[in-house]
């Protein structure tokens, strides 16, 4: 067997790293979306869910999940930077004229959409998790407690979401980022399965269908929150 360093640096291995971590992040997105949609069931359900996430396994589950996500995210971005640099270097002289047949704007701008999503994720964490930006809406501040049916006092996450999405800036950034995320997933999902080699003549059409479905589904799912808040469906 070759030295592990040779293999690790190879393009296909880096693509596997990107595909596996990407699929992990997609699973996280689906879980995150499921939690978000609890908003339509009311404050009690959403706040209880938020509380149970922080209490699961005596509070260790959330840190395990955060650790796993951080590793997946760092590896995903790392392989993206590495491969993008190599791909750019592979064609030093560009064509004067190009006429693409199968690639799409989304597939050719994965690095850009990924970079913008990265920036958004950092902002999103600073807003909803850390409360360092838009701190006036932070659920952890005093006066924003919510008492669950069983008497436990928890931060009012429900109120934080509603109050935040009433701010046009937050909603606009959110919707734009979710559109980018949808475009990213549109190419990413089918691409990941192809890279992992699980596609063949029979499975490929299904996999190529799954990408756009997940992209549109996830983007619409997340956007349903701010849209519902603006429409006054949840308050």
């Amino acid at each position: 067997m070759r030295a592990f360093g040779d293999v690790w640096r190879s393009n296909i291995f880096q693509k596997w790293v990107m595909a596996l971590t990407g699929l992990m992040l997609v699973l996280f997105l689906i879980a995150h979306l499921t939690g978000n949609l609890l908003i339509f069931m009311g404050a009690e359900h959403m706040n209880e869910y938020g509380h149970s996430l922080r209490e699961l396994l005596h509070g260790s589950a959330i840190w395990l999940a955060r650790g796993g996500l951080l590793v997946a995210f760092v590896l995903h971005v790392w392989s993206a930077i590495l491969l993008t640099r190599r791909n750019r270097a592979a064609r030093p002289q560009k064509y004067v004229k190009t006429d693409w047949r199968t690639s799409t704007m989304a597939s050719r701008s994965m690095a850009l959409s990924g970079l913008l999503i990265l920036v958004y994720v950092l902002y999103h964490l600073a807003h909803f998790t850390l409360g360092t930006v838009h701190s006036q809406y932070y659920a952890g501040q005093t006066g924003w407690e919510y008492t669950l049916a069983n008497g436990t006092v928890v931060p009012d996450v429900y109120r934080m979401v509603i109050a935040s999405f009433q701010e046009p800036l937050i909603t606009t950034l959110y919707v734009l980022s979710m559109v980018l995320l949808g475009l990213h997933l549109n190419h990413a999902v089918a691409s990941a399965f192809q890279t992992l080699g699980v596609t063949n003549r029979r499975i490929s059409p299904l996999v190529r269908f799954l990408g756009p479905v997940l992209g549109i589904g996830v983007a619409l799912g997340f956007c349903s929150l701010p849209l519902a808040v603006i429409a006054g469906l949840v308050h």
Binding site: V7, S10, N87, A90, R91, T98, Q194, G197, N200
Partner: protein, 249 residues
Amino acid sequence: MNLRLHIWRQAGPDATGMLKTYDVANVSEHMSFLEMLDVLNEDLIGKGEIPIAFDHDCREGICGTCGMVINGRPHGPVAKTTVCQLHMRTFKDGDEIYIEPWRARAFPVMRDLIVDRGSFDRIMQTGGFISVNTGNAQDGNTLPISKINADHAMDAAACIGCGACVAACPNSSAMLFTAAKVGHLGALPQGQTERSTRAMNMVLQMDVEGFGACTNHLECEAACPKGISVEFIAQMNRDYVASVFGGRD
């Protein structure tokens, strides 16, 4: 028909190239694209200018020697066609046509439209073969191969190594070429002995040559004059990782 051509002219590997414009008159619609360039070259020679250098050999679409990017598409606008089999009836009077060489770091331009595809040969040298003790040819049917496997191997073996996949790929990746070679031998019993080292060595050589990584745009499959499927790329991805975790050297 009369055409206006914008052709990449470059005197040598280190020279600076640029697009030059040529007007060609009275082009017959029955000519192949290369014959049209032949006519232009005759004209240039008559005028004492240096003719346009381009690769060509069999001119019947099976050797893989010719190739140029025409209006942004390797081998031109018609699917599953090499440029020698592209006919001028595809174009119409007054068309402007941009003609450029394959663009990749691993395919340096030698002159005008000719690129050095030696990187493909070096990939082949690392694993695109089977090792056998030669002697008399063995009797027919001593090595039964199912129709399914024979067809699958033939689908991959249809690759003529022209490099259109690299030219079409936004990343100049050679995945389709290499996958066709790995997939061809991997589908046959003779190729099993070296299957895992073949995938490993050819993939690593591809990186050494400076080809980019595949981002699954599928442009290669669309540009391939032999219509080789990207399913071979998926299979090479499997074979490569299998050789990482279970391979012998």
